[in-house]
Symmetry: C2
């Protein structure tokens, strides 16, 4: 099998890392690959923060839904949607005056810009993940970095037009690491021809048949089926409430619709 | 060089495709790789639409900022952030009643869920891109699929809790295709240690030195420098206004905060 496909198909989230540091040339390869990712208009609407500081990793392990393994990762990468650099550049280029002279609106970045920035950042992150994997460096995405926006703003020195859309914990596989490749849902429930298709009860029953087996009587979520269990554990959880609140707060900073000097 | 790194480093956006159809086994590999991507809680908050219909591709080539090459791609993939399937499943699992019995809020997906869906979709898309490239299938991201939300909703049959976060045009490289690998900004402007760093005028001058050379006197944007040029061509353009409008409209549908039956 093609090596690229093999790496992609055998990649799994790693949460337990070998203690050794990541070699600088390996980290550099990971970052260079990230930066080769396609990006909107070649503008690179993202930045990457490399976190090695022990105290900062400790804080992040708490602010990102209390996951101690984060602090044990030799390197943590935070991918920011970043329109701040672009708008600071516009400021340095006299764009406001240019707009006035040419009778154009000088508009602050909107929600479309925000999502372009998130897109650039995530596409770059996945290049980093695949490259890391090819170098025997395991990784785990932590979407929980979207929580506690105000706190992350403070400890990461984030200006208004940046947003931490994802974080990666990185570290080498331990020598005796065992990979467990988790199954995905069947393609027929995820991939549709020409237009979206909503699923019916029979299809859901079939789709979740395997998951349903893991629901035990008297589970701590008091759930009768997997749908209830996953709602209790994920969508209805406190961390999800916090993520939803935090993203709204971040969008408000984004929405100030003024240009900072 | 490791084959994975080689594919990533030599990948570039392809906008001119060989006329031959994409082989079904190749398309299948691309989709299977996409589905191996990491996803929040293994819930796969995304769906993929496979567009081959000529008329639909024609429409998309117009609604996505008038880019005729889109219609010439043998296959177009649209990646949706998708919480609709999850909430339809909750509906089928009696989660509302479960919440009532257990004194929990039954909440509609929020903006955090929205961004988790976008994240899952984009990470999967980049797996598709890299796998395609390894199979000699070129690709181009089209973020413009975020524009004209109402129209895309209609032609793609999208319910409220889905959003088309990115599109890929796919096709084999032509035999005489020449790859031009575009430079990226220097790492020191994109990657920061421990916290975010805003750049100053001197740094911007250095960062954009190469781009500045392409600004010719009397350019159609009436720009004196590259910052003004890129604002006129991108951030201040009509397509960006439309993208910002469209995303706001999509978020309003998302924000209805009711559960559809």
């Amino acid at each position: 099998m093609n090596e690229v496909l093999s790496v992609i198909k055998n990649r799994t989230s790693l949460r337990k890392y070998d203690k050794k540091e990541i070699r600088e040339e390996h980290l550099n390869e990971v970052l260079e690959s990230a930066m080769r990712a396609p990006t909107a208009g070649n503008m690179m609407f993202y930045s990457i923060l490399v976190i090695k500081d022990k105290d900062k990793k400790e804080i992040l392990s708490k602010t990102c839904d209390n996951q101690p393994f984060i602090a044990s990762a030799p390197v943590v990468l935070i991918f920011l949607a970043d329109l701040q650099r672009q708008y600071d550049y516009y400021e340095a280029s006299g764009v406001e005056e240019y707009c006035r002279k040419n009778n154009m609106d000088y508009t602050a970045p909107g929600k479309g810009d925000f999502l372009l920035g998130c897109s650039d950042a995530l596409i770059a992150a996945q290049n980093a993940v695949i490259t890391a994997e090819a170098l025997s460096i395991g990784s785990c995405y932590i979407g929980d970095v979207m929580e506690n926006y105000e706190k992350h703003r403070e400890i990461l020195n984030l200006p208004d037009y940046t947003f931490p859309i994802c974080m990666l914990a990185l570290g080498y596989y331990e020598e005796d690491a065992k990979k467990i490749i988790k199954p995905r849902f069947d393609k027929k429930y995820i991939v549709f021809d020409e237009e979206y298709k909503r699923l019916n009860r029979e299809e859901f029953k079939e789709m979740y048949r395997e998951n349903e087996k893991f629901v035990v009587k008297g589970n701590k979520f008091n759930a009768d089926n997997f749908g209830q269990l996953i709602y209790g554990r994920k969508s209805g959880s406190n961390f999800m409430k916090e993520m939803n609140r935090s993203v709204e707060a971040a969008l408000k900073f984004w929405d100030t619709h003024k240009i900072e000097n």
